[in-house]
């Protein structure tokens, strides 16, 4: 398959690549995620039991307490943060968390990533220019 580049909006700078992990549910980093391991610990969450460490984490948007920004920073300091994040529509909690943790973050892609991508697919993310590219 030819690589496909989908344009969006760059929110947090940097470029990287990795495996996709899709979450249909929004994420409240305070409460949903264990900052020590990167595991989703909320039994109500669709990613319960999965680990977001090292993934390109794709979710609709953040929610919950603004302390969530700091939890993203803690994940980053503990080496268990996602390598990149993609939102349908970014809000301040995740935007701030991504920037202080230097995690590339893109939102508002021209095509719906939930229709185009599957868990485990390899993608590149460029937060400077604001795009996602499929690799295989």
């Amino acid at each position: 398959m030819e690589p496909i580049r989908i344009k969006g909006r760059g929110i947090s700078k940097g470029s990287t690549g990795g495996e996709v992990l899709l979450s249909e549910d929004p994420i409240s980093f305070l409460g949903n995620v264990d900052p020590q391991t990167g595991k989703i610990v909320d039994p109500e969450h669709c990613l319960f039991g999965k680990n977001i460490a090292g993934k390109v984490l794709i979710f609709p948007h953040g929610k919950g307490s603004t302390v969530g920004s700091y939890v993203i920073y803690q994940l980053f300091k503990n080496g268990v943060a996602p390598v990149a994040m993609v939102n349908l529509e970014c809000e301040p909690i995740v935007a701030v968390g991504a920037i202080i943790s230097e995690i590339p973050l893109v939102d508002s892609l021209e095509s719906n990533p939930f229709e185009m991508l599957k868990d485990g697919m390899k993608v590149s993310i460029n937060g400077n220019e604001g795009w996602l590219e499929t690799k295989d």
Partner: protein
């Protein structure tokens, strides 16, 4: 968003990594909310202070920052009275972490005044039309509504970034078009001073994040407006409201009346007084006043209600350190009853509150937050009843 050449240079990292990150955050927020540019701010009030809410994650981030704030900046309440934390029953481990957070902020040039009522501080005046970056929800509501200044409800990190750069992104409540009323609320009865907190609790649920315009039969003064706004920011997400003929923007501007209208009646207010918030099978075992922090007039009121009385339960009166220090006689008079006047903190953000099971409060904000944030049931009442029902106050 347009950036000046100097702002571009900061964004490129020429002023160091802290300011670069701060600029990136303001620009990202500006992009999300479609701001056209950054605007200068007069002051900042920074949330994210209590170790209870910040945790190690927040402490770690603040400790890693370098730089100095560019405008007068103060803090939100911490998790304890910074001097009398032992009397509150706060653990030494918590106190140590809390002090680390305070020191990290101090190192950035932030004045260690931990209060949700920055507008009472002598050196921290805000006036009509000022642009601010404040973050505590009741302070934001007061600044926008009662003072007529302009601020969004900043998150902790964004307020800190704004303080470090002396600027914020121009969107939301900084713009005229977002300050017009969207919902008309008529209050169908005369109100007692304590009723405004209850009214706010009801109105906030109805308004959500819209801007309400109140039509009232009574004329509230500033402490009552404070209670009204604080409650609406907690039960809803109201950051700006107007009261016809009372608040400054409503007096100066000729607002069109909103199409959507609702009426709040006496019976709705009475119902809240009779309803325990949270799981309240037990009697009240404590009382607290000062959410938001007490003004000198409110301290006077509490002192008058406790005159010649002693309290059997924990009674905590919260205010800012500056207001307490300027009113030593009132503090002494209140504490003679056995009640404590505590500074730098409040019942909602301190872990010390968790030991109670049912607290009497005069605050719609505390009434909304105590069950969720502290697992403590709450009854709302006027100050006198709080002292009697919650504090067990009786004649000496």
């Amino acid at each position: 968003m347009y950036l000046t050449p100097e702002e571009e240079r900061i964004m490129a990292g020429e002023s160091g990594p802290t300011l670069q990150k701060a600029m990136e955050i303001l620009v990202a927020l500006g992009d999300i909310y479609e701001a056209d540019r950054l605007i200068p701010i007069k002051s900042a009030q920074i949330a994210g202070v209590s170790y209870k809410t910040m945790g190690d994650a927040g402490l770690e981030w603040i400790s890693d920052l370098e730089g100095r704030v560019q405008v007068p900046s103060i803090l939100n309440p911490a998790g304890m009275d910074l001097e009398r934390w032992q009397e509150m029953g706060v653990s030494a481990e918590f106190a140590e972490k809390q002090q680390e957070i305070i020191e990290a902020y101090r190192n950035l040039g932030i004045e260690v005044q931990c209060t949700c009522t920055p507008y009472y501080l002598q050196s921290f005046s805000a006036t009509y039309g000022d642009h601010l970056a404040w973050s505590e929800s009741s302070a934001v509501s007061y600044a926008n509504s009662v003072i007529g200044a302009r601020t969004n409800r900043e998150g902790g990190p964004s307020a800190l970034c704004a303080a470090l750069l002396g600027k914020t992104a121009n969107y939301g409540y900084h713009l005229d078009e977002n300050r017009v009323p969207e919902l008309m609320i008529s209050v169908d009865c005369e109100l007692e001073p304590s009723d405004y907190a209850v009214l706010g609790y009801i109105a906030g649920k109805a308004a959500g994040k819209r801007v309400p315009l109140f039509r009232m039969q009574s004329t509230p003064h500033r402490d009552q407006l404070k209670a009204l706004g604080a409650a609406m920011a907690a039960s809803g997400a109201v950051a700006l409201y107007h009261v016809e003929g009372v608040t400054p923007e409503s007096c100066r501007k000729d607002f069109e009346l909103p199409e959507e209208q609702l009426t709040i009646e006496r019976s709705q207010i009475d119902e809240v007084y009779e309803t325990v918030s949270g799981d309240g099978i037990t009697e009240c075992d404590s009382a607290a006043v000062g959410c938001p922090h007490c003004s000198p007039e409110e301290l006077e009121d509490v002192a008058a209600k406790l005159e010649g009385k002693v309290v059997d339960n924990n009674v905590w009166i919260f205010t800012s350190r500056e207001v307490a220090a300027s009113n030593p006689k009132l503090v002494e008079s209140i504490e003679k009853s056995g009640a404590k006047v505590l500074c730098d903190t409040c019942m909602v953000v301190s872990p010390a509150t968790d030991k109670f099971s049912h607290m009497a409060v005069n605050s719609g904000k505390a009434y909304a937050y105590l069950p969720g944030m502290c697992k403590v049931a709450a009854t709302i009442a006027n100050i006198e009843k709080c002292m009697e029902k919650g504090g067990g106050a009786h004649s000496d």
